[in-house]
């Protein structure tokens, strides 16, 4: 019963926010130039969703996100596992990784432009760079979360290296890995967006920045809704997987 109540309250709150978004500009409580009513934004969203240039921009951005993710996650995971498993490598690189992790990555953006230009490679390189460190740290945490007793049990029952990897390492690390995947995607997507909005010819980030600069608030907000929906969709998909593991997570 409490669960249902909670859902009702949340829905009511969401409805109230959307209603205010519609009503405040409509009745002149806020400047509709700065905050256009929700219905106008939704109409703009429906409109931009059928535009060919928007499709192309979405395609470019999606490709950048996917490629950067596909590079950053395996590379970061490999480096993370190495730094956790190999004491020598870990001792050398871990402190350095922690220092670099703390730096806001966006200050390196001008350097990426000088090296890679403002096209596809630069977006991928910058997003990979923004994502890599969180993946390394999560992967190394995931390896360290494998309990020594669990490895010992497997060895005492004669498990081979492959069996230990598959039946002990993988399930032990899975909850942390899924969480890492989710958080890396946030970093990755942010990286691509920032790079596109900062300097680019293509991509949805560029379009959103353009709409902002030309004061097209309905389109700008429609773009925001679109990006937000895509990000939330990925996040929730991975989170539902995480929830399935959380019953045994300790």
């Amino acid at each position: 019963m409490r669960g249902t109540t909670l859902v009702i309250v949340r829905m009511a709150l969401l409805a109230a926010v959307l209603l205010l978004w519609e009503a405040l500009p409509r009745f002149g409580f806020v400047n509709p130039m700065l905050l256009p009513p929700l219905s106008d934004v939704l109409a703009a969203l429906a409109h931009i969703l059928v535009r060919a240039d928007v499709h192309q921009a979405l395609g470019v951005t999606a490709a950048e996100v996917v490629v950067a993710f596909a590079i950053a996650v395996p590379l970061g995971a490999a480096l993370g596992v190495l730094s956790a498993e190999n004491a020598y490598f870990g001792d050398i690189f871990k402190p350095m990784l922690f220092y670099v992790f703390s730096i806001p990555k966006s200050i390196f953006l001008p350097m990426f432009i000088l090296v890679f230009g403002i096209g596809f490679p630069q977006k991928v390189a910058y997003a990979t760079f923004s994502t890599l460190f969180i993946v390394i740290m999560s992967a190394s945490t995931a390896v360290e979360s494998v309990k020594a007793e669990h490895l010992l049990v497997a060895r005492s029952y004669g498990a081979t290296q492959i069996q230990i990897l598959r039946r002990v390492y993988l399930p032990s690390m899975l909850p942390i890995l899924l969480e890492a995947l989710r958080i890396s995607m946030i970093f990755n997507f942010t990286g691509v967006m920032i790079a596109e909005m900062y300097a680019s010819r293509l991509g949805i980030g560029r379009l959103i920045a353009d709409w902002g600069e030309s004061f097209e608030m309905t389109k700008l907000l429609a773009g925001v809704i679109l990006i937000a929906a895509a990000a939330m969709l990925f996040n929730e998909a991975v989170r539902s997987l995480e929830a399935r593991c959380s019953t045994w997570r300790t």
Binding site: K147, E149, L152, V153, R155, S156, G158, Q163, P171
Partner: protein, 268 residues
């Protein structure tokens, strides 16, 4: 009457050594050079016997158990199990029961028990049947589909025991299996273990810190010294079986406990 018959039966079958340790020594590389951990251990455990090893912390009793399980190689000496040397883990000869946190939290009770069989690629139906029988033996019938976090500490250790027995090894090694349990559960588990042992006639090597537990469970208590671990004494516990809680209040029990305590205490 019944215990006497049981007792003599055990002794009669005790001619063959299930576990034999000859001239075992172990030295490990510490920060300040070589540290002697175990020195000249000689031990013969007849088949079907319940042996308990006690000793101060850091006396190398867990190291010794790891070596008996084939998980660690000694610097010198040999270990024979069932008459053959053991140099790597062999779960068909030796089952191991570890301390509390050793169950896999992502597997259910029955999946934990069948884990050793999964490693051996046993057919699913056979695994399930065998694991079910073991859960039944340890009194966990009907709990097979529970995850470890849904079980009490005592139940988790029952699952561990079932897992140790699932391949029917002649020897069962137990490394402080009840150390994390509260006193009452610990006593109950000890009692249950004896009943399982009497049904399966395994050779058990059991490590503990608790002297009461040692005397209550053992046919023989092996007392070890502080590092480097040596065998100080081997005390035969000639209390009749099955053991009862009342025996703990007897003078014989107290005297045995006292004898062990004095040796451990006087060792620096």
């Amino acid at each position: 009457m019944q215990h006497v018959a049981n007792l003599t039966g055990k002794r009669a079958g005790a001619a063959k050594a299930a576990v034999e340790v000859r001239g075992l020594s172990h030295v490990y590389a510490g920060r300040d050079g070589a540290v002697p951990a175990l020195e000249n251990i000689e031990l013969k455990v007849p088949a079907g016997r319940f042996i308990v090893i006690v000793g101060p912390s850091g006396c190398g009793k867990t190291s010794l158990l790891m070596m008996l399980a084939g998980l660690r190689a000694p610097s010198a000496g040999t270990i024979l199990c069932d008459g053959r040397p053991i140099s790597q883990p062999d779960p068909t000869r030796v089952g191991v029961v570890f301390q509390e946190a050793s169950l896999y939290p992502w597997l259910t009770a029955v999946e934990n028990v069948e884990f050793p069989l999964v490693l051996k690629h046993a057919p699913r139906a056979e695994r399930r049947e065998r694991a079910g029988a073991m859960l039944n033996l340890v009194g966990l019938d009907g709990f097979g589909s529970r995850y470890p976090h849904e079980l009490s500490g005592g139940m988790k250790q029952r699952v561990s025991i079932a897992r140790g027995l699932v391949q029917d090894p002649p020897v069962l090694l137990m490394d402080e299996p009840f150390a994390a349990l509260d006193e009452q559960t610990r006593m109950t588990m000890g009692h249950e273990l004896l009943s399982i042992w009497s049904q399966t006639s395994k050779t058990v090597v059991f490590i503990t810190h608790s002297l009461t537990e040692a005397v209550y469970l053992a046919d023989e208590v092996v007392v070890m010294s502080a590092r480097p671990g040596r065998i100080l004494d081997r005390i035969t516990v000639d209390l009749p079986r099955p053991r009862t809680y009342q025996m703990m209040a007897t003078d014989v029990f107290g005297a045995l406990r006292e004898r062990i305590w004095l040796q451990i205490r006087t060792t620096p």
